[in-house]
Subunit: 325 residues, 2 copies
Amino acid sequence: MRATAKAHTNIALIKYWGKRNEEIILPTNSSLSVTLDAFYTETTVHFKEELERDTFILNDQEISGVPYDQVTNYLELFRSYADQKGLFAEVHSLNKVPTAAGFASSASGFAALAGATAKALQLNLDDTALSRFTRQGSGSACRSIYGGFVQWEMGTLADGSDSYAIPIAPQDHWDIRVAAVVLTAKEKDVSSRVGMKRTVDTSAFYDGWLETLPRDLEEIKEGIGRRDFEKVGAIAEANCLKMHATTLGAVPPFTYWQDTTMSVMETVQQLRKEGISAYFTIDAGPNVKVLYLPEDEEKVMQKLQATNGVTEVIVSKVGEGISYL
Amino acid sequence: MRATAKAHTNIALIKYWGKRNEEIILPTNSSLSVTLDAFYTETTVHFKEELERDTFILNDQEISGVPYDQVTNYLELFRSYADQKGLFAEVHSLNKVPTAAGFASSASGFAALAGATAKALQLNLDDTALSRFTRQGSGSACRSIYGGFVQWEMGTLADGSDSYAIPIAPQDHWDIRVAAVVLTAKEKDVSSRVGMKRTVDTSAFYDGWLETLPRDLEEIKEGIGRRDFEKVGAIAEANCLKMHATTLGAVPPFTYWQDTTMSVMETVQQLRKEGISAYFTIDAGPNVKVLYLPEDEEKVMQKLQATNGVTEVIVSKVGEGISYL
């Protein structure tokens, strides 16, 4: 009753930005991501008859409080499913997602936890079922079950049975790069959970956002299919700008951008003016991720590292899906 | 057949952002501005029988090309109305609107030109009729006919006869200040005319923008009426953010913001965290205007001048309407 799983984080090119069901995490739109090789979580789950409660060790530290509650609540989902109430586990996680990089470690974290737990309980879930479970831990985590390019199909059913990830193109389909640009840290005023909810509930632009998504998704998949980097990059960048525009129409308005966020955006636009295909995307935080092709790495890195406010640039290739060790 | 008029520029608190008729300049929404004392244009128009063409002298320099064409085409509007075809004028303008401050000098420019021309031709227009004429030179210029707080009523008629400015509160109603924050200049990629049109034609957020405006307008007038600075400032700032959000949803997307624009926005938000009521608004360019109350001037100026990228801060009081010298 012991298993270890490794899952990578992912960055959305078509953003997930809003829930239609907060309880079992159902999104208001389908999204699409690329799995990232450089950032992952490795988790071992060991169910033992003699335990009286779950324990959660993250990077060799025993965790309590909210993160512990999230893990134990999440395990409860599997225990109910497996009819194993009262069977507790030791959870050991190793997180290779630097918080400063502005990736939600919840994506790789919940994917690895789901994979290891399902395996330890010998549930024999297929990837679709596993993705459905993962979604209920953290929405975007469901995309981390697969490598390469992955779509999270929003689904329409109330029970969420048709809301899961599907692979669009495998890891070896296309060698693109993603640079995670780390900026001088400032305090984040609005969490992504709170920001997402405020936007859905109040933004004047939320309907406009939703209306453009089916086309963005269709076109970016077409672009990924024929490895059209300009097309994929332009759609991803425009989609990110639209997502961030919705926060400016919320009541009260807010933004995840800092002045340094804008500096990196300007650097990327400047790179394009110089003939280098680079595009940015930004999640619910100030840090910027830059997409480019391997042959442009030197020029892209040089410009990014020279940009005002940049403290570190971490490069990633396209990553693989969940694996078991 | 000679007259001199002086008109001030204005800054919109509820933005004009889109035309429903490009020819005679009819807007898609009503807007509201405050007239600014520190920035104005003084224009003398002298019609002379012996002239064979118009001449346009701006700040002691004879002007040709596009600006000249705009002036002479605009005079033509008055000549047609006055049945004075073939009567030409010398136009002398003195522009006290520094281009670097990021104000459209067209607002004070066309208002002063309209006033002086109408007077020189002895047209005896009332302010409403004059505002209607001014609107056809440059949309937001129609608001510069009045001092204090001014609404540009969008109107609904196809001939534009109900699209003109109306005074909401006179200059002496309320002593607020507007600091024009001048930033290190970078090249502007998209002109306001082009940006406005692209937004109307392609932005996913344009409908959302229009929908929220009647309420913004109603509430800000209520706030101006009872001199509620927090309310007026918050509505103006949110309205500006919404206007700029629409550009992020255009195809292709664009923004007028620079990293330094964001720095000033952050400074203003920081001022509020320190208990000082300051709010920003931004037109179709990178520069920021900051609204505050006279008693906070020292602290506001200090913070703004210490902000990264700020080259100059020019303070203005509320200005008066058009006058004749």
